[in-house]
Amino acid sequence: MNAQPGSIAKVCLLAGKIMLESGAETYRVEDTMNRIATSFGLENAESYATPTGVQFSTEGEVSYFRRISNRSNDLQRITDVNSISRQITAQSLDAKEALLLLKGIEHQSETFPLWLQFIAAALASGSFAIMFGGSWSDFLPACIAGALGYAAMIWIEKLIEIRFFAEFIASFFIAVIAAFSIHAGFGQHLDKIIIGAVMPLVPGLHITNAVRDLVAGHLVAGISKGVEAILTAFAIGAGVAVLFAFFP
């Protein structure tokens, strides 16, 4: 299979971009890009991925670069890119077909409808309230606060494209709902309800991924992911703290 180096680079970069935007590990992104390049017969391909940008170059060619601006978690897209990369390695796709398929994945909408995501956020929040040692009477308030908080975050993020601000407002909103439900006599532990309800927003995954990248030697990626996680945690903590500052 001999395609133009330019179009191979396009396939590699698009695959890398989709994976990074969907929250794949950095080393896996580089691995996938190199694998695709090798199976198309490109020698000495080098790729370098960070959470905010990805580069690809081959010997004697110009090097390519793509900026990554939005990052979220989308495991379906990672799976799809992975299966395309497998097909390429098995030599059953050429560069043109692969590029078309990848473009399809890039514009693919989410698998689960929004209402199902809210229900999932609600149940996960309630479950976390129990797991962190809350009582069963905390379950329902945590569910409601979690679902509404998650909804608020998605809505505000669409309105104002600053993720940290959306997290700040959403967690403030959660704290208000939790305080109200305690006032109204539902639930016992304010802390457990709030912690459970903010879990869908909390960057626990980013923290762990950051450490993994650091240990694997991807120092730049690890540090930038860690900083993102700390900023998010700070936004959430600050949002909740606003409530405690005004209504101690």
């Binding site: 929250g23 897209r77 689960f112 149940l123 996960a124 797991m131 995954l205 923290i207 950051a210 700070f234």
Partner: protein, 147 residues
């Protein structure tokens, strides 16, 4: 009590699978992996072990189960990893630490942050350890074939 923990951790892990947009037919496995990881953590903590080694063992199991699932169902390992470690991740503690910071209680805040870093490190090492075992098995089985 243990039953409640099992159910809630399953629901939490599977629910996060939906939030992370995991493939539909992997949700059941995601929940199971998360449940087993949390079970190990919960039982060890109940026995009086510190949270850091308990997280280490929990995430080791998550890593091993994820490797198995990835092999059996031919999907990238990250799907099972990510949902599986969600119950173990110190999100609640990270939140606590930040809350202490904004409440000007720096002394407790720094303590809690150090704990968060240790827990995150333990989870990462646990996941890595399972990868190490996987690679070792792959390498050694390769040798056995040659001989």
């Amino acid at each position: 009590m243990l039953l409640a923990q099992l159910i809630t951790s399953y629901v939490a892990a599977a629910g996060f699978g939906i939030l992370f947009n995991a493939p539909k037919h992997s949700l059941f496995q995601c929940g199971m992996v998360g449940m087993f990881g949390w079970m190990v953590y919960y039982i060890l903590v109940e026995q009086g072990l510190d949270a850091v080694p308990a997280s280490l063992f929990g995430s080791m199991l998550v890593g091993i189960l994820s490797q198995l699932c990835a092999k059996i169902f031919k999907m990238p390992i990250i799907i099972f990893n990510v949902s599986g470690i969600i119950p173990l991740v110190p999100g609640g503690l990270a939140y606590d630490a930040m809350r202490k910071f904004v409440e000007n209680d720096y002394y407790t805040a720094v303590q809690l942050s150090a704990k968060v870093m240790l827990l995150a490190g333990a989870i990462a090492i646990g996941l890595m350890f399972s990868e190490v075992i996987h690679q070792l098995m792959k390498k050694t089985s390769g040798w056995l074939h040659i001989e």
